[in-house]
C-alpha cells in the first residue's frame, strides 16, 4: 500500500508538524500547498531521525511541494501550470498512475461560476495527459476550493466527480455527443458530523444568509480504473498528528497549532497482479 498525504499548510511555517504528521501516518508521499517553509527545512525535519524522504521538485510549478519515500525519478512531472502539477508515479513492481495535484483559485477572489469554468480547463488538461500516458489510472488530489456538490466538481465538462462508485464504474457518460470520463469522489462520504472524523476540511463562519460552516475543499478524486485499488476505509481527514491535536475543542481546525485546513490521507494498493 502507498500512503499519500495532502495538506494545505495555510502559509504557516509548519515543517516540524509536517514531519510528525508524516511519521504518525506512515506517509510515503507528502503533498503540500501554501507552504511557507523552504523545501530544505522540510526535508531536514522529515529526515531528522532517519533519512527516508526525498524532495521531488516540480519544474514550472514551485507552489505545490512533493516529498517521497522513494527517489524523485519515480514521480516525474509531466504537465504543469502555476496551480497544477501532474506527475507520473512509476514505481518498480507497481502499477503506474498519474497523480494530479492542484491548488485551485480561492473563493476570496473567484466566484463559483468562474471556478466551474476553470474546472473545464482542469478536466481537459487531465484528459490530455491521460491520452499521452495511454491510461486513465489517475488520482486528482488537492485544495479545490470547492465543495463536492458544486457545479465545477460534478458537471460532465468539469471534473465529473460523482458520489457513487457504482456510477463511476460505468466509466464515462455521453453528453451532447461528447464523452466525459467519471471521477469517483469519496469525499461525499466524509461530509457532515455523521461521518467518521471531522465534518469537513475547512471551517468558515461568516455573517451571510448562506453559510455551510464546514467545507470539503480538500479532496481526493479517483478515476474508475483505480477503483479496485482504493478502499473508502483508507481515506481520512486527519485531526491530529499523533499526540498533537490539529483542532480546537469545538472540532474546528486550530490555526495556532496547524492550519485552517485539515490534512487528508489516503492509501492505494498499486501492486501488479501476479
Amino acid at each position: 500500500m502507498i500512503s499519500l498525504l495532502f495538506w494545505n499548510v495555510g502559509r504557516l511555517s509548519r515543517h516540524a508538524l509536517v514531519a510528525r504528521l508524516a511519521r504518525a501516518n506512515d506517509a510515503d508521499v507528502i503533498l503540500l500547498a501554501e507552504v511557507a517553509d523552504e523545501p530544505i527545512d522540510l526535508l531536514k525535519e522529515l529526515n531528522k531521525t532517519q533519512a527516508s524522504y526525498f524532495f521531488s521538485p516540480g519544474i514550472g510549478n514551485t507552489k505545490i511541494l512533493a516529498f517521497t519515500r522513494f527517489s524523485d525519478q519515480f514521480l516525474r512531472p509531466c504537465s504543469e501550470t502555476d496551480r497544477l502539477t501532474i506527475r507520473r508515479m512509476r514505481l518498480p513492481g507497481l502499477e503506474e498512475i498519474l497523480l494530479a495535484v492542484v491548488h485551485f483559485p480561492s473563493k476570496l477572489h473567484w466566484s463559483e461560476r468562474s471556478q466551474a469554468m476553470e474546472c473545464t480547463e482542469l478536466g481537459a488538461e487531465i484528459r490530455k495527459e491521460e491520452e499521452r500516458a495511454g491510461h486513465q489510472r489517475t488520482i486528482l488530489v488537492g485544495d479545490l476550493n470547492m465543495n463536492p456538490f458544486e457545479s465545477g466538481m460534478v458537471s460532465a465538462a468539469g471534473l465529473h466527480a460523482v458520489m457513487d462508485r457504482r456510477i463511476a464504474r460505468e466509466g464515462s457518460r455521453v453528453v451532447q455527443g461528447r464523452e466525459y470520463p467519471f471521477f469517483y469522489n469519496p469525499m461525499w462520504g466524509l461530509l457532515g458530523d455523521g461521518s467518521r472524523g471531522p465534518a469537513g476540511t475547512f471551517f468558515h463562519r461568516h455573517a451571510e444568509q448562506e453559510a455551510y460552516f464546514w467545507n470539503m475543499f480538500d479532496q481526493v478524486l479517483v478515476r474508475p480504473a483505480l477503483l479496485d485499488r482504493f478502499d473508502f476505509k483508507d481515506l481520512a481527514i486527519l485531526d491530529d498528528a499523533g499526540d498533537e491535536r490539529l483542532v480546537k475543542d469545538s472540532g474546528v481546525p486550530d490555526r495556532d497549532v496547524g492550519s485552517d485546513h485539515l490534512p487528508v490521507l489516503f492509501r492505494l494498493n498499486l501492486r501488479v497482479a501476479a
Binding site: 519544474i59 514550472g60 510549478n61 514551485t62 516525474r76 512531472p77 509531466c78 504537465s79 504543469e80 501550470t81 502555476d82 496551480r83 507520473r88 477572489h109 473567484w110 468562474s114 469554468m117 476553470e118 473545464t120 480547463e121 481537459a124 499521452r132
Partner: protein
C-alpha cells in the same frame, strides 16, 4: 458578372499575434538546439476563465521532448476578430515579476492586455526575460542533459 468586392481585400497590414508567437517559438528551439521547444496550443474550446469572452485562444507551452514531452504553460492569449486588444493570462510568478517593469498596465485581476502590436511585443519580451521563464528553461535543459 460585376465584382462587388473591394480590390484591397487581400492586403494584410498587420501580423497576427499567432504569427509572432510562432516566430518566437521557433527562435527558442534554435537557442536550445531543440532541447526545449515552445508549442502553441489551440485552446479555443476551453481556456482559462479570464479569456472566456475571446473566440481565439492559444496557450504558449514550453516543452521538452527528452523529458517525456513535459509541458509547462507559460501563458495564454485571447483575442477577438479585430485582433487587438490581446488579453494575456500569465503564470502568476511571471505576472508578479513583470508588473511595474512594463509600461503596459495590467487590467483587472492583474491581467495584461496589449492594445497594439508594439505592446504585445513588449509584454512578450518581459515574459521571456522573466526569472521564472529562465528558471524553467534552465531546469529543463539541465534535466534533459543529465
Amino acid at each position: 458578372m460585376i465584382d462587388l468586392w473591394p480590390s484591397e481585400l487581400s492586403t494584410v497590414d498587420q501580423r497576427s499575434p499567432l504569427t509572432i508567437l510562432k516566430e518566437q517559438a521557433s527562435l527558442l528551439g534554435e537557442k536550445t538546439q531543440n532541447i526545449v521547444i515552445a508549442v502553441l496550443e489551440d485552446i479555443s474550446g476551453i481556456g482559462p476563465w479570464s479569456l472566456k469572452n475571446y473566440p481565439f485562444k492559444y496557450g504558449f507551452q514550453l516543452t521538452c521532448p527528452a523529458l517525456g514531452h513535459y509541458r509547462f504553460r507559460l501563458f495564454s492569449i485571447g483575442f477577438d476578430i479585430d485582433i487587438y486588444p490581446v488579453r494575456f493570462d500569465l503564470d502568476s510568478d511571471v505576472a508578479e515579476e513583470i508588473i511595474g517593469e512594463t509600461h503596459v498596465e495590467p487590467g483587472m485581476n492583474g491581467k495584461f492586455q496589449a492594445s497594439n502590436e508594439e505592446e504585445f511585443i513588449e509584454i512578450l519580451k518581459r515574459i521571456f526575460s522573466s526569472r521564472k521563464t529562465a528558471r524553467v528553461i534552465r531546469a529543463l535543459l539541465s534535466q534533459a542533459k543529465s
